[in-house]
Symmetry: C2
Subunit: 336 residues, 2 copies
DNA sequence: AGCTAGACTGTAATCGATTACATTTAAAAT
DNA sequence: ATTTTAAATGTAATCGATTACAGTCTAGCT
């Protein structure tokens, strides 16, 4: 490995001069600068990043905790984070947690051991191990979409899930639907509560029921959508509209509804949440709520960046705008 | 920041003993071990990862270069890499290159500056900057799916794209198709040439044509599939079967074909490549070639891991098995 | 010519951990 | 009780860069 010492010898200067030539060239005469640069080139020298980092105490990396890498929605968020990070000279360590707390602990621990300077959590859990909780108090941490559990409040970039769900509900109520069902995602999260509350609030205002047996599901997957529809269609009353808590669920649901020989939206309207790319191209194209995933990622990094500089935030909660995207998976209710 | 010195003082021992207690406890008496562990706990001490890494010269990280984070197929590969890496104590630095060579250079450079120990390339380009090419000679690098360009041969984990394409072609020929078209992906890659060659070889054996005007596309996106179909349907002769070079293209193609009022597969059969998750749930479910993406990722890391240990490989090319997945997007040709 | 200010450059401390080598301690052997 | 041996611990060098501080040199001034 060529190190700074070799270069300094080659150029006939001290290591300090080499370092200065590379970090702050204006402090060095042009003559020596040339000598050094030539030696650098000749030796094929690259400063050892690890060494600079020990010295500075900063790793210029952040960890991103993802519950599920295969969810395309998260991917767009990560894309935004990555882009923003890259622009500021940070790199992104990917932590696929699979929702497993052991893994979360491990990845979160990276921030405590200087392997990373900050953390972005895409899930709702407090990622540090209980014994690390105290240390974690001063750690720059931000969450996206979900709010992190616990008394300590961390900044969050999110959507007004309540309002977005209300928008979806109004959309369906406007079409005259009265028999609703929902296939929900992970139950223990804030998002679940907010989205459900949003839907419930509209239905209550309209005096429409959402009985417990019409709430099925439990994970944000295509399979949950399929299984959800199976359960719903076993019920004596068939719903005419189904809220799916994300687009993956909706894709599974539509697929399964068709298998039963029913039509979307003529027999059952289906709406999703997230607006992943493929949602516009399935049959029928999905009515859903567009989340500005990429921007959410960017913003998350920017906020984290402020925390990492040791500054404090004026706002701890940032709410990005959603958009109701009306496509053909929802429509007026048909009397059977 | 609590460092090893503070802990050593707290425990009344030397820093060496603290280090040994944590790294090789068997070298330390139980009594001192207890003292040290208590001090560690009390101080909330975590070894500074950066410092250990400078010493060892290993960062225990790898960079993964992805041309396009939004492609779900890549995601599964990354998932496999991540899993395998995590098991061996490595972490994954994500490099979203967008196919931009400047970004590739930058990310690849991380390996030269000890920020990462190895590199996995999911694209086909040689990621290092020209001036770094010589240095890059000894860098542990592996590619997945695509082969890296240049004289120097790096290990690659791939599919027999030629054989897989032949399987798809045989499948369609077996249904009696005679008028073929293809919507291809990125043209400059090995994969493009192999897949096309595979298709061509079968068609030639059967004396069937694949005229140049029936080759459209140029990128692995849904949009390319849509645009491709538009171009193909402008031609005087309408194809009865379309090879799409990946599933995203196929999804776009099917969507657009339906827009023209044509049916899949009755009017046009469509086949894809990759078998991404959603392909099984679109309408009609897509006939495609399943690539063991997750395993490919795992395997890529394992191979890289061998290189990073400085050992040499017996085989430089590893070919994983594919599987033809016959679903409902392909079927017998209907005489019009 | 002599002196001073300011620009360059070099020396050596530093970051935080690891580890070769030296030293101390305790146990075992005589 | 003394010597031998092994185990435990400490001291200090080391990894590779950065940087405070000190030293040198040149240019400009009187």
């Amino acid at each position: 490995m060529t190190n700074i010492k070799k270069v300094s010898e080659l150029a006939g200067v001290s290591t300090a001069t080499v370092s200065r030539t590379l970090k702050s060239p204006e402090q060095v005469t042009e003559a020596t600068r040339d000598k050094v640069m030539q030696a650098v080139k000749q030796a094929g020298y690259r400063p050892n990043w690890l060494a600079s980092s020990v010295k500075s105490g900063k790793s210029n990396s952040i960890v991103v905790l993802v519950p599920n890498l295969t969810n395309p929605f998260f991917l767009r968020i990560i894309g935004g984070i990555e882009q923003a990070a890259q622009e500021k000279g940070y790199s992104v360590l990917l932590g696929d947690t699979q929702g497993d707390s052991k893994r979360e602990n491990e990845y979160a621990g990276m921030v405590l051991s200087n392997r990373a300077d900050g953390l972005i959590q895409l899930d709702h859990s407090f990622p540090f191990a209980p014994q690390d909780a105290e240390l974690a108090d001063n750690v720059p941490m931000v969450s996206v979409c979900e709010r992190i559990e616990g008394e300590r409040k961390y900044p969050v970039i999110e959507l007004d899930n309540y309002a977005a769900s209300r928008a979806l509900a109004h959309h369906l109520v406007g079409y005259g639907h009265q028999k609703f069902a929902a296939i929900v995602g992970q139950i223990s999260s804030q998002i679940y509560r907010e989205r459900l509350a949003g839907i419930r609030s509209v239905l209550q205002e309209e005096n429409l029921p959402l009985p417990d047996e019409m709430l099925v599901g439990g994970s944000y997957t295509i399979e949950a959508g399929i299984e959800g529809v199976r359960q719903l269609l076993k019920q004596p009353v068939r719903p005419t509209a189904i809220f799916c808590f994300n687009d993956d669920i909706a894709i599974g649901a539509i697929h399964e509804i068709k298998k039963y020989g029913l039509r979307v939206p003529q027999d059952i309207s289906v709406v999703g949440f997230d607006n992943i790319k493929v949602s516009a191209f399935i049959d029928p194209p999905l009515t859903t709520v567009d989340q500005p995933a990429y921007d959410m990622g960017r913003r998350a990094f920017e906020v984290l960046s402020v925390l990492m500089r040791g500054e404090s935030l004026t706002r701890i909660r940032e709410i990005l705008p959603f958009q109701l995207v009306e496509r053909q998976s929802s429509g007026p209710v048909h009397s059977s």
